[in-house]
Symmetry: C2
Subunit: 358 residues, 2 copies
Amino acid sequence: MKKHNFYAGPSILPQYTIKKTAEAVLDFAGTGLSLLEISHRSKEFQAVMDEAQALFKELLEIPAGYEVVFLGGGASLQFCMVPFNLLNKKAAYLNTGTWANKAEAEAKAFGEVVCVGSSKADNYTYIPKGFEANVPADAEYLHITTNNTIFGTELKKDPDVKVPLVADMSSDIFSRPVDVSKYDLIYGGAQKNLAPAGLTFVVVKTDALGRVERHIPTMLDYRTHIKAGSMFNTPPCVAVYGALETLRWLKEQGGVPAMQKKNIRKAEKLYNEIDRNKLFKGTVTCMEDRSLMNICFVMNDEYKELEEEFLKYATSQGMVGIKGHRSVGGFRASTYNALPEESVDALIEVMKTFERNH
Amino acid sequence: MKKHNFYAGPSILPQYTIKKTAEAVLDFAGTGLSLLEISHRSKEFQAVMDEAQALFKELLEIPAGYEVVFLGGGASLQFCMVPFNLLNKKAAYLNTGTWANKAEAEAKAFGEVVCVGSSKADNYTYIPKGFEANVPADAEYLHITTNNTIFGTELKKDPDVKVPLVADMSSDIFSRPVDVSKYDLIYGGAQKNLAPAGLTFVVVKTDALGRVERHIPTMLDYRTHIKAGSMFNTPPCVAVYGALETLRWLKEQGGVPAMQKKNIRKAEKLYNEIDRNKLFKGTVTCMEDRSLMNICFVMNDEYKELEEEFLKYATSQGMVGIKGHRSVGGFRASTYNALPEESVDALIEVMKTFERNH
């Protein structure tokens, strides 16, 4: 039976990326060697790195003055790398979910951290409103998490504030156009919209670096990696290769604007069914905050006891990874760029059928 | 033409690992999904992580009281993580090559660093002798780099000193038995003897942790990863999978003792040819320090002008990655666990033929 991959991350990648990677694992770029055993210093791999960085810049429309670096270690490592490199005295953080909360906590060891808004007390069911006004004028940056994978909320546009933005875009990078000029830094784990797990992307304004006074360990200093073209140490080659193939696919599909259209269409369909179906309800309380990437829903109160049965039925119909995170419960359908519309249609059909049978 | 992979890293992996990974990229563990898009929280991936850690412990004969953790970020990140976690006041470092030198430099930001020996002035052509006697009794650890990938020297047995050892074993892990009980910590990039690039292994004595007073960022604290079973954040799943398949292969081949025998045999053959052939000479000045993993050689003085021609000829015969590192020049044949004896034989044949023709 066809499987529909709704995992929150690592998550669905284009079939194109999967096919190309499988081929490269057997023979990479006609070298007669596997992608798994090729030197990162070979000209063939250097070409992969160069094209991946160039396409990343092109597709996200990154202006001059920014660099794209590919690192290991995950977005969680960025929670300390960001303040190591950018926080001298004071930074503002918006607390919209588990990861935003972790980023904020980590920064406290480096300077004064001002929380400009939090929906933690309400289990992060919305994005705090009016946080822009709470950002101190002397904050060195405002840190935001543009999409909250666990709670299914999303800041769908770049906030207007008077200080530079820093954003964790792990789960919505390349899903919508971004005005990069508002940001000093954008980072994320690549394992949702871009590549297999093990790769972290960082888009950084070079002018923003070199302004802190503390000692920065070499590997945690963005300048190390910029200077070495992301080759200061051995990069996660397979994941970089996967990123390249996804970026090629993305370009061929019409780029970020085309993805955004498709993502809106998929999400609208699924939210409409959640709102229509008597069995279910969405968990996000403010409609405009509903994520286009992670769609969270639970059984309506009077049908609570059907939760396990629905999960079982959906699984039997090929739906994979729709169990909600334990912090929210219920269900979560992740609808990243690579998820085809037919997977959303299949899930809706499953919801309708289950409703008819109950 | 058959290619013989002598890359220094990323480098040759068993054909078994390559084949199994290619299969899993298309269908992982019968899930109908790709290894590239599977959740690290799925039961199928948890089984991979569990078995990889268990086999790692079994094959390296790791005693009780130690944990194995899999991280991202590369061995270079360990250069700061080690002192972050273990260096309170004073540590000893042995400077045997580029990476050892970097590890030592990084530690200086964390406490007093005593260099117990260095062959830097002699371009690292040997391992300093008698360094054991220079280790201060109050050093918290002695850091060594057991194999120097660039310069082709190797500490083939675990030194006897009165303080715990910490070792970078990036390029000789699983190539010889190790007395783990002498070490507080062993780390390395996995991209030589274990897995595709992007994975770092750490073997750590749990008792050695929690003794420093400084603040450690969450992701840089080994306890974070031990507590979460290497799943605090998304691990580099493909590389962990590759490690598992290599460990399975290693066990099937007879484990570490069998690898050591094979490695000694391969290295002896090649060193014998280097010593016999009138065109070449080894670069390591002390015979007992010659690495079993990276075999460095140059043209003899009177044949210097043939260097490029030999490289061209060897390449035309299927030899890949034998150009020496720029710090040494000449040639380097890396003979990791997965390199078959026939590749060494093929290289020797190329050296003999080239000699006959000159």
